[in-house]
Symmetry: C2
Subunit: 337 residues, 2 copies
């Protein structure tokens, strides 16, 4: 938690303070082995059914941005958390907190996009709740989605399963979502604006899992970015992870904006990307499956899992050196999702 | 939705505008038969397992009140929504939106109470999410809980199942939660303050369902109060409901405050009460089971389901007349839960 007596923006960054909030506050209170796994979703057993269960609140600012709005973001984000558990997303809940005075036309636009996203992902919204709070008690609209998925027999995907030798595959370019939000928020105007990558990854994941039994870990690098995600996996699996900077795809305009604004794309949120740790004998096959899908067409191998260096992520830089990639410390971009 | 181009507090009241928000906006966008049932939780089938799935966001103000805080309210409320579907509550998610600067000590107190409530209800918190928004973007803390429960074989509880002749049983006194919140919020000081009734009803419900096969409907009258809940059931089951005013238990101090403040206890939120529609041959048995439980000790039969008067609730008043009990229109008490 750090020493602060107040909650800081950093506690919601997805980085180091977020982790200590979970580890120091939540786990002791709710102690149980399922929660303690700390995957993107919980794996629960009901009768003979293995299910994944996950929740996320969306507080993105602005609520409309190039490539989407808070509505499809809230559907896709939770679908993705289920998908990277290896689950087939089935059912969603939607809980909305709306500020008094919010335009009904904006709500319509958000709901419309949620409907489109849910149909595209093939998930049913089956239950919901709406609260309205007085003007000034919330900023426009917050949306929570919780999801349930079914984990097919034989699927064992977990942040704990990375093994030395595994190839690290990234499904596409980094930092598109975060930079889209930031430039929209700051009112930066470009001829061709950066577009958020918000998308549901479940169909891509389904193909990967159906065609290969060599996938050990799946994770979508959202808040905290790829750097934080890889650190989480390295810690959970007690392995090291080595990545190669010039293999990591970043769109030129995104790279330029990161440079200009002083951000490292490794720590910027993505909303339609995944990272996979794959048995080396299966890596080429998985890669070619991914590249055939629109959402994986830029997929590439960016590194590998190594023994030793337990819990550490390090990167071979463009200039040939090696640097440690730490978990995100501090908050780069509040309200990114 | 009414004609407003802006979202009003009434849209979150649980009453008429809330219903039109759901019916006019949500159902068309997410159209599917499960959502359209509009029970407190959705009944979903995964493999051979019948599950209940529900969500609620808690935005109560103040967050600490006599009898509880936003934390145990968020656990109990969702446990109750599962219980009144006839489900055994199993797993919860917790999504928190916290305002920057929120005191860590308050978060500790809230989490502590959540842990106590979860253990008491016998439910596991297995997944969570925390967002922190900048100062002024949210009022202190909002908590979403979503829950999954298992519906045992043979249980068929739904707002659609009320049958003419069914006895209407209320588990205890009305309006305690709403009046506790209101008096706390307004800074009213009393020798013995009104205490919120926040409590998990699942153990009470379990006993009722295990001992009787004659229970058709269960519902917890939260936002919108008993008046609105009975209207929902009357509409869903295409029946009339007749209640008798002087059988409805209200604590004297709560009744006095309602009188003083101009509130009708029929429309004030409860957070630890249920209403049951029970086959008349089973009603005495169910009542005596309920009265043996601490949370049902004041249970009583307050009326019955009638044929004709489809979708209507009417009440025999203390002075001997009869009046229509409509669904809540307008918002009495924002941020009550």
């Amino acid at each position: 938690m750090g020493q602060s007596s107040k909650i800081l923006l950093d506690h919601g960054s997805g980085g180091r303070l977020s982790h200590s909030l979970v580890n120091d506050k939540m786990l002791p209170v709710f102690q149980n082995p399922v929660l303690a796994c700390l995957n993107d979703g919980a794996e629960i057993l009901i009768g003979n059914e293995r299910l994944a269960f996950t929740t996320d609140s969306y507080v993105v600012d602005p609520i409309f941005f190039p490539g989407g709005n808070i509505g499809d973001l809230a559907i896709n984000g939770t679908v993705n958390d289920l998908a990277v558990c290896g689950a087939i997303p089935l059912y969603l809940s939607v809980g909305m907190i709306i500020e008094e005075g919010f335009p009904v036309a904006d709500l319509d636009a958000i709901l419309y996009q949620m409907g489109v996203a849910a149909r595209k992902a093939g998930i049913l919204v089956v239950t919901g709740d709406t609260k309205v709070v007085p003007r000034g008690a919330a900023d426009k609209i917050f949306i929570n989605t919780s999801g349930i998925g079914k984990i097919p027999e034989g699927i064992e995907i977990s942040g704990h399963n990375a093994k030395p030798g595994d190839q690290v595959i990234l499904s596409g370019t980094l930092a598109d979502h975060g930079i889209a939000i930031l430039t929209q928020r700051e009112g930066m105007v470009f001829d061709s604006p950066v577009i958020s990558d918000t998308a549901a990854l479940n169909h891509l994941v389904r193909q990967m899992l159906e065609m290969s039994s060599g996938i050990h870990v799946l994770r979508d690098p959202t808040r905290g970015g790829l750097g934080t995600t890889l650190n989480e996996i390295a810690a959970q699996s007690h392995v090291g992870i080595r990545i190669v900077e010039n293999r990591i795809p970043v769109k030129p305009e995104v790279a330029a904006l990161c440079e200009l604004l002083g951000f490292d794309p490794l720590y910027i949120a993505n909303e339609g990307k995944l990272v996979a740790m794959v048995n080396p004998d299966h890596a080429d096959n998985v890669l070619s499956i991914m590249q055939k899908d629109e959402l994986g067409k830029d997929a590439c191998i960016i590194g590998e899992v190594v023994s030793g260096h337990e819990g550490q992520v390090f990167m071979q830089t463009r200039i040939g050196g090696t640097r440690i990639v730490d978990m995100l410390t501090g908050e780069q971009l509040p309200r990114i999702c």
